[in-house]
């Protein structure tokens, strides 16, 4: 017996060339699954010195979040009722925003609406203790996370030659490669490939939404999207245990039949394998479990961490069906179901990255000042991050709060000027929220958790009508951070990628012209940015 030449499969060469990726990555996906992990470099998916595996939960705020209305530059004189006649949020008098210290967290108590002062009037923008920025009151539940030092608020985040098309710009965030339309796979997908676990773990990257986002899309390894956890089982032929077995067996055998080289087949095979693996994993998780806070954070009762009905939404049921006691809008239950599923999967399985999205941020008209569409969206984000922290602190299993980073993404910010429809249009830089137990956030008497929203930043926030909010094309907020620097920091310092891996996850990460690592002028459009933020 002899072992002659085995021809290399054309499909492999074709695909790896089309991806434009480094040879190392292409090689890794083409070798047997069992070998991949052994050959993978770096620490993604590997237990660290503390024996823990680090994970990431992402939230994509689709439609472009108005960063100026989230982390508000109250100290900028140009943030006023001329630029924003109806959308301007005045500072809350409860704690002076000019005072140094923790974030202002106004507790409602049992008899007051969640987002109201005890006298029933509306809350204003909440001091963040950096003597410049404030938090939109709809984000008030971020204050306890901030004050624990577990939250970084990054302002003025963007990328060179910002596209103001939702689709382009979302793509660039998701591929980690601005202005490069040739890269077709997602930034988290590539990070998962680098882990070497995509063939052996039942789950690596998982999304909980209508379809797999580009963040997790790629043709060489199957990431999973689940639109509804309750439907994750199969019917049989007939629908009995034996019938299911027969169906499973024949389906598996049929899908093993070799097919001619087809553009879609390799991807389909990966996803079928993923179906089989995840069916088994999911059977062991109760996705409907409820999780109660261990403290009465808002001065009322302990609230449900993942509100999925009116009765589990803040103090609504406990206070006589009082709608003012909701913590989140009543149309956000699907989102919190998805968020809970993402949290459970990170905590109960070997998944490394999970996430979902919140739609509806494209607030061209009737954006809402203290109530309305944008405040409602902010309430989701505020309570989501609050709830995630408490969930992982109270229920650590495969993932502790210290092992997790929660990060938000959004394609761009919105115009400094309010438009004629009481809304804002597509613009440039915006805000990222990054939370987790190992974040280098606020310290009493020490550092602030606000990055990029202060006149004392290395690249200061410049105030006035010629200031930061007008420095791109005279109408948009100018960036001082590149989103890739933020994500790069997370990939390296949290997930544990090597510099070489980071180069492949975020193409050209170390390229001096992009200044992502050390800061400096980005040559694509000549804008100076700050170095990787020291947030973890």
């Amino acid at each position: 017996m002899t072992s002659p030449r085995i021809l290399t499969r054309r499909g492999f060469l074709h695909h790896s060339a089309a991806l434009g990726l480094g040879t190392a990555l292409a090689t890794l996906t083409d070798i047997p699954f069992v070998m991949q992990r052994a050959l993978a470099e770096g620490g993604i998916g590997k237990p660290g010195p503390d024996g823990r595996v680090k994970k990431v939960l992402f939230l994509f705020l689709r439609g472009a979040n108005d960063g100026i209305n989230a982390v508000i530059p109250t100290g900028d004189s140009a943030y006023n009722t001329t630029t924003r006649p109806t959308l301007h949020v005045p500072p809350d008098p409860g704690v002076d925003w000019r005072t140094r210290g923790p974030a202002h967290f106004p507790v409602a108590g049992p008899n007051t609406g969640t987002y109201l002062r005890p006298d029933g009037t509306q809350l204003g923008a909440l001091a963040l203790g950096n003597q410049f920025a404030t938090l939109h009151p709809s984000l008030k539940f971020l204050a306890p996370v901030y004050n624990a030092g577990h939250l970084a608020l990054l302002h003025r985040v963007g990328y060179p030659r910002q596209s103001r098309s939702h689709f382009d710009s979302q793509n660039y965030w998701e591929t980690g490669s601005p202005r490069d339309d040739l890269i077709k796979d997602g930034i988290f997908y590539r990070a998962m490939v680098e882990s070497g676990l995509t063939g052996s773990n039942a789950l690596t990257g998982v999304s909980f939404q209508s379809s797999l986002p580009l963040l997790l899309r790629g043709s060489k390894a199957a990431m999973t999207n689940i639109s509804d956890t309750s439907r994750y089982n199969l019917l049989g032929v007939p629908n009995t245990a034996a019938g299911n077995l027969k169906a499973d067996r024949f389906l598996a055998e049929a899908n093993r039949i070799a097919a001619p080289d087809r553009k879609s087949r390799e991807f389909l095979n990966l996803q079928y394998a993923n179906v089989a693996r995840t069916l088994e994993t999911f059977a062991s998780i109760n996705f409907n479990q409820e999780f109660l806070d261990n403290e009465a954070t808002d001065g009322d009762l302990p609230y449900n961490l993942f509100p999925t009905s009116n009765n589990t939404n803040g103090g609504y049921a406990a206070r006589g069906n009082n709608a003012a006691k909701y913590v989140v809008p009543t149309n956000s239950y699907d989102f919190f179901r998805q968020l809970r599923a993402a949290a459970l999967v990170l905590n109960k399985t070997d998944a490394l990255v999970a996430g979902t999205q919140i739609d509806g941020w494209d607030t061209h008209s009737s954006q809402g000042t203290l109530n309305g569409s944008h405040p409602d969206l902010l309430r989701r984000v505020g309570w989501a991050i609050y709830g995630l922290r408490k969930y992982f602190l109270q229920n650590p299993d495969q993932c502790r709060w210290d092992d997790l980073i929660v990060v938000t993404l959004s394609e761009f910010g919105r115009t400094t000027f309010e438009n004629d429809d009481n809304g804002t249009d597509h613009a440039e830089a915006s805000v990222m929220f990054v939370a987790g137990g190992s974040i280098k956030g606020y310290q009493p008497g020490g550092r602030s958790g606000v990055f990029g929203c202060s006149p004392s930043d290395p690249l200061p926030w410049q105030t006035g009508t010629a200031g930061s909010m007008f420095q791109t094309e005279n109408r948009y907020l100018k960036r001082t951070y590149d989103y890739r620097s933020v994500l790069g920091r997370i990939f390296r310092n949290h997930l544990g990628s090597t510099p070489e891996q980071l180069q492949r996850i975020i193409p050209g990460y170390a390229r001096p012209a992009d200044a992502l690592l050390a800061g400096g002028i980005q040559t694509a459009d000549g804008v100076r940015i700050q170095a990787e933020p020291d947030l973890i």
């Binding site: 017996m1 002899t2 072992s3 002659p4 030449r5 085995i6 021809l7 499969r9 098309s165 689709f167 339309d181 209508s210 379809s211 797999l212 899309r217 043709s219 199957a222 990431m223 999207n225 689940i226 639109s227 509804d228 199969l234 019917l235 049989g236 032929v237 007939p238 629908n239 009995t240 034996a242 019938g243 077995l245 027969k246 169906a247 067996r249 024949f250 389906l251 049929a254 899908n255 039949i257 070799a258 097919a259 001619p260 080289d261 087809r262 553009k263 879609s264 087949r265 991807f267 389909l268 996803q271 993923n274 179906v275 995840t278 739609d359 061209h364 008209s365 004629d420 429809d421 249009d425």
Partner: protein, 846 residues
């Protein structure tokens, strides 16, 4: 190179690859069988290879040296592993895999049915194979020549619905009742032994046709005592029954019932069929056996829910979005103008709008919340009908379709033009127009992203659309963009709130409000000074990469101030005419059409002037040239010429296209229904849907909510966007539920009206397949995986036969041939096979 090879120099087996194809097939360059392994076992050669597309047969040639011709070698083929019969010596030898393809026309026909239609039906597959691809294309490219009246409301005399329900003989009394006061007409009641009713088995019910006076066989409880025989309407024979229920019933004491003699057996399967006709009762009709072994419940909502009724309701503003989707899905299943349906869906998705946004807008301007969806569905229906009609015009151009989209209230509301103003304020400044429509007109509807425009063009363009609003127009005034609101009243006698929107007859259409228009000059696609102002003498020019005849052409559009009053409406139309035929638009639309018809890997941005070229680039360019210079003259952008170039290309007709695309949820669900849909000898369709069950599936398998896409880029055309473990699970569940109906356990998620009857299909098309497992496998594999080629289907065939010959436990042998036709076991075995085949990776491909 290979250490083991170098250590055994006497033996250097090599696989040499060669593919022999019929002379007309053009796929040779891309499809040659790769040998993936060759070894010697017990002296015999074993050769493993990757299949090639559409293989009719494989054979292995060999010989000791290349200087002599290779000769066919005896051996056996197991899947794609060949074992030679002859022991060969330890000397060098050469092997060659040869594949012969099925005829090219058979490949082309299947590509046509998968891309220009929503998959083959049993009849259409036969018909298209017989016609050949050219005649079929010719027919579908001229849909106006295909007779069809699906959108005509069903005449009331044809408004009978047939219901079939299979179950067990739990007891021998059949009850019939409504769940409240109401009435319904019944005719043709039959109850037979077996899992289906082909009309040949004896009817176990007496006087099920009500042709004789109601005697003791039918007992009328008090609540149905006024029920009587009638001669109008009638389904069969001369008489039907008019069931009148005064209170509603639940059991024997409150129903029309019959005690069946001789008694039914609880271990046997029976099939109940009946026809009903209803006019107005909003009730549930129940026909059931005591013990509910058979338990048929039908919702009577006063309408026959056919395509025609949906169309008429939608046109009249009383149809819901669910009806709109059913209309669309039923047309996809049933229409003979399949290409017209595929193209309409393509353009509906290209010029995407969101039903919910229109509904919310109408809700906000005065419609009660509960009914705001009706005019919103109407606007979606009307734009679709306009596209449908436009596509029947032999000279239809892209501009025609673009205009329909621009004028549609659904679009005007969707991209915020409805509230966009550019008129002068009292302080002398101008209002800032909303950029939304202008941006998507460039990025998504015409030029494609980053293709020939920039942000300043969008700002300039946005001012063109100021003043485009919507208004409710009286009948006959829909085409007049200046007409006032309808004053035709549904109820003229109403005094208070006479002008409420719900009391006005009309349809929403374009309203041009010139007082909101920005009257200043617009310079679109012009070079600009550093301060952003246009250089009016310097229009931009088409980039060099387009090559002749396009490169270097000026494509600036100047709309100079001076227009006033209502004539500024013309600015919008000038923009549409200007943009519709620019090379950027030609390229973007052609690329999208190629992705729809050929495969996913077409791009915009080819350099048409360099030496690097590909079949894809060449096809795009050829189609763009047909757009630019239509053969036979006439306006640019005539779609049929563009399509003709794509459909006649070797790339489309060959294995370069076939099976390379993944079905979208829409294509998957509709293809499943179509695959099993023929008419049995008795005129009964062998697969049915009312559209609603498909909508549920589309939503679950990727949130494909037709007519209600939130993002303006439309639903994706490419496969990976649709396929993940979660969406795949939904496809598998749908396929299983669809195939296993009606024997699936109660609580089934799928609408009862989306199901198939494979037994009846085989009885109609291939009776021998009812008892011969090989015939069943052959028929179903050819139907579901056509053009795969018999040699590639061989492993599937083996598996399918094994499935049919194995009991439900998956282990015990249980020959298909010995299951009695008509028995539950037989029906279920075949349904199991169908579910199995529909859940494979192969059926996801088209």
């Amino acid at each position: 190179m290979n250490p083991s090879q170098s250590r055994s120099p006497r033996w250097s087996a090599t696989a040499i690859l060669l593919l022999l194809l019929t002379p007309v097939l053009r796929a040779a360059e891309t499809a040659s069988p790769d040998a993936t392994g060759i070894r010697i076992q017990s002296g015999r050669p074993l050769l493993e290879f990757q299949p090639v597309p559409s293989a009719l047969s494989y054979s292995i040639l060999g010989g000791p040296s290349l200087t002599q011709p290779l000769a066919p070698l005896p051996g056996t083929l197991q899947g794609f592993l060949w074992t030679g019969s002859d022991v060969i010596g330890p000397d060098s030898g050469f092997f060659q895999v040869q594949a012969q393809s099925i005829p090219t026309n058979d490949i082309a026909v299947v590509n046509l049915l998968n891309r220009l239609a929503y998959g083959p039906t049993p009849d259409e597959l036969e018909r298209a194979r017989q016609m050949g691809p050219d005649a079929w294309i010719q027919e579908q490219l001229a849909p106006e020549g295909i007779a069809e009246d699906l959108d005509t409301p069903e005449p009331s005399t044809e408004g009978w619905r047939k219901v079939t329900f299979t179950g067990t003989g739990s007891a021998s009394t059949l009850y019939i009742y409504l769940d409240g006061p109401g009435d319904v007409y019944l005719d043709g009641l039959r109850l037979v032994l077996g899992a289906s009713d082909d009309g040949t088995r004896p009817n176990l019910l007496r006087n099920g046709d009500f042709e004789t006076a109601l005697g003791s066989e039918w007992v009328r409880s008090p609540n149905v005592s006024t029920s009587a025989r009638t001669t109008d309407p009638v389904k069969s024979g001369a008489v039907a029954l008019h069931l009148i229920d005064t209170t509603g019933g639940t059991t024997r004491a409150s129903s029309l019932y019959q005690t069946i003699t001789p008694s039914l057996s609880s271990s046997q399967t029976y099939t109940l069929t009946y026809w009903y006709y209803t006019t107005a009762s909003d009730r549930n009709l129940t026909l059931r056996l005591s013990g509910r072994g058979i338990d048929s419940v039908e919702r009577l909502d006063g309408r026959v829910r056919g395509i025609g009724t949906h169309a008429s309701d939608l046109l009249n503003g009383v149809g819901s979005v669910t009806q709109l989707r059913s209309w669309h899905l039923l047309r996809a299943v049933e229409s003979r103008r399949q290409l017209n349906e595929v193209l309409r869906q393509f353009f509906e998705n290209h010029f995407v709008t969101e039903y919910t946004k229109t509904r919310d807008y109408l809700d906000g301007i005065g419609y009660p919340n509960a009914v705001a969806g009706l005019p919103a569905a109407q606007t979606e229906f009307i734009e679709n009908r306009r596209w449908q009609q436009a596509l029947l015009n032999p000279g239809v151009t892209f501009l025609d379709l673009l205009r329909i989209s621009a004028e549609s209230p659904a679009m005007i509301v969707y991209l915020d033009t409805v509230s966009s103003r550019g008129d002068r304020r009292s302080d002398g400044t101008y209002r800032v127009a909303n950029e939304n429509y202008a941006r998507e007109l460039c990025e998504l509807f015409c030029f494609g992203v980053d293709n020939g425009y920039d942000q300043e063009d969008i700002v300039q363009l946005s001012r063109v659309w100021t003043g485009w609003s919507v208004e409710l127009r009286a009948p006959g005034q829909e085409g007049n963009p200046f007409a006032p609101r309808s004053t035709t009243y549904k109820d003229p006698s109403v005094v208070t709130n006479r002008n409420a929107l719900t009391n006005l007859v009309g349809t929403w259409s374009l309203w041009y409000r010139n007082t909101r228009h920005d009257p200043r000059s617009k310079y679109i696609f012009y070079n600009r000074n550093p301060n952003g102002s246009p250089i009016t003498s310097s229009p931009r020019r088409v980039p060099a990469r387009f090559g002749p005849p396009w490169a270097g052409r000026a494509y600036g559009l100047a709309l100079t101030a001076g227009g006033n009053g209502t004539n500024t409406l013309a600015e919008g139309y000038s923009v549409l005419s200007h943009m519709a035929n620019q090379p950027f638009t030609q390229e973007f639309i052609v690329v999208k059409l190629c992705r729809l018809f050929v495969h996913d890997d077409f791009q915009t941005g080819y350099d048409f002037t360099d030496d690097v070229t590909s079949p894809e680039e060449e096809l795009v360019k050829a189609a763009m040239l047909a757009w630019e210079n239509p053969p036979g003259g006439g306006p640019k952008g005539q779609l049929r010429h563009v399509l003709r170039v794509i459909l006649d290309s070797p790339t489309f007709r060959s294995t370069l296209a076939s099976q390379h695309k993944v079905r979208s949820p829409l294509e998957f669900a509709v293809a499943a229904v179509r695959a099993f849909r023929t008419q049995s000898a008795e005129g009964i369709p062998t697969a049915v849907t009312d559209g609603v069950g498909l909508q549920t599936m589309l939503n679950r398998a990727g949130r494909m909510r037709l007519f209600d896409r939130a993002d303006p880029d439309g639903y994706p055309e490419t496969g990976p966007a649709w396929i993940s473990a979660g969406t795949l699970v939904e496809r598998l569940r749908f396929a299983q539920a669809f195939a296993l109906r009606p024997t699936l356990r109660p609580g089934n998620e799928l609408d009862a009206r989306t199901s198939c009857d494979p037994v009846n299909l085989l009885r109609t098309k291939r009776p021998s397949a009812l008892s011969n497992a090989g015939d069943a496998a052959d028929y179903l594999l050819d139907l579901l995986f056509p053009a795969e080629g018999p040699a590639n289907l061989a492993p599937y065939r083996e598996l399918a036969i094994q499935f049919l010959d194995t009991a439900d436990n998956g282990i015990t042998p249980s020959p298909y041939a010995s299951l009695g036709v008509g028995s539950t076991a037989h029906d279920q075995r075949l349904r199991g096979l169908v579910a199995f085949l529909l859940t494979t990776a192969r059926f996801q491909e088209q």
